[in-house]
Amino acid sequence: MSHAYANTVAIARLEWRRLLVRPLAWVLAALTLAWLAWNFTLLLGSFLAGQIQRAAQPDGPGFTDLVGVPLLGQLAQLAFLVVPLLTMSTLAGERRNGTLALLFAAGVPAWRIVLGKYLAVSGWLLLWLALALAMPLALAHATHFDWGKLAAATLGLALMLAALAAIGVACSSFAAHPALAAAAALVIALALWSVNLGAQMAGVNGGAVNWLAMSTHLQPLLRGLVSSADLVWFALLIVLALALAARRLGADKERG
């Protein structure tokens, strides 16, 4: 294993372990999954209640449209709160604790520290997504799934979580205190989601402001439409946020 790869894995393992033993990650997982499970039963109840009416519409919405995707939509809403809380300590906490210097002193470059932390948090978020997804999938044998639409929506959610995690890690690299990092990540994520709200209210549906908004790129995926332009937008956001975090961390070593 090359040094670069081994260092990144070592940082990711360290962060993963810290996530697993901290109560915050477990409490967040328990509360949000309980909330999603409750909503899943409500969505399912509503779906079953309307089944007879929908039987008359051969092209009407199915289980994926009425239960699977709405459940993922709720997870997306929760992510705005969960991801900043999960990422807030990744670098700001290390800096306050004095342990960031230990990572530098192990000869780990800033970008590998950022990447390792990011991978660990992303792993936790993907697990969270998988557990939420397991609820509708548990009924796969009993209902008809639109697998393509569900896969596209899952991909969209995974990309959104990855982007929010990158924003959270970047905010954590800049903030002196984890709480500030969480607040900044929440505000930036909300701003990025709704930056086009004014334009849409004015009836403008194109242009740079709409392109900038995360909702513009997530909603097609939730509808089952996978476009390379949307995938590239998420990739650009992730790379930009992680590059900023690595740059800020590198400056920490310079400034002391």
Partner: protein, 251 residues
Amino acid sequence: MTSPPADSSPTVLRLHRLSRRRAGRVAVQELSLDLQRGQVLGLLGLNGAGKSTTLSMIAGALRPDSGGIELNGEDFLEQPELARTQIGWLPERAPVWAELSVEEHLDAHGRLRGLNGATLRQARIAIIERLELQPLARRLAGVLSQGQRQRLGLACALLHRPALLVLDEPANALDPVQVAALRALIREQAAAGTAVILSTHLLAEVTAVCDRVAILHEGTLRHDGPVSAGDHAALEKTFFAIAMNGVARAA
């Protein structure tokens, strides 16, 4: 300034005109010194003399503004990854990840330093035994006393058998028995060929374990010379002459 003794052992560390500003003032200025294999160098100075800044730069946690650091003949500033295997660092106050146990700390440090599998396991067991950390092995670092944290930090610094051991006030919060054990450990490491640089406020610490002493004052090296167990009075005289001269000039 007193010159360091000539030594035929290979040079592990060479500082060349190392300078660093911190918080708008000069913390270290034009610092040059060498450290040979198996040598123990004590770094003395008043608070704010630049000891911790110097050690942070040597450990690779802080970049100097100018000057050079050579580690076993290689440019450390060009190859910071050398720190991974060649340097062990115990920072002041021994920072820890509060939510990890002592064993998990050692594993994490070992992996960061390139150890894994059976090698890591053996190194961890050996260092736990050597530092008598067995009763604490499963305990979370967050509940350790400062002295216990210090021992954990020391274990992490020694785990990968570095060529250079950098200790920033290692006797902090240790009881007299632990201080004696620490001194024995430092001498043992030096006998095995490790170069050791330690900063301290305690002159007795220096005369007890060091072969050489360097005195920093206001970021500059004012004295670099040999020291031995019987030199306490002479060292005290030199130290106070340098320190009080600075205080007198400041007044």
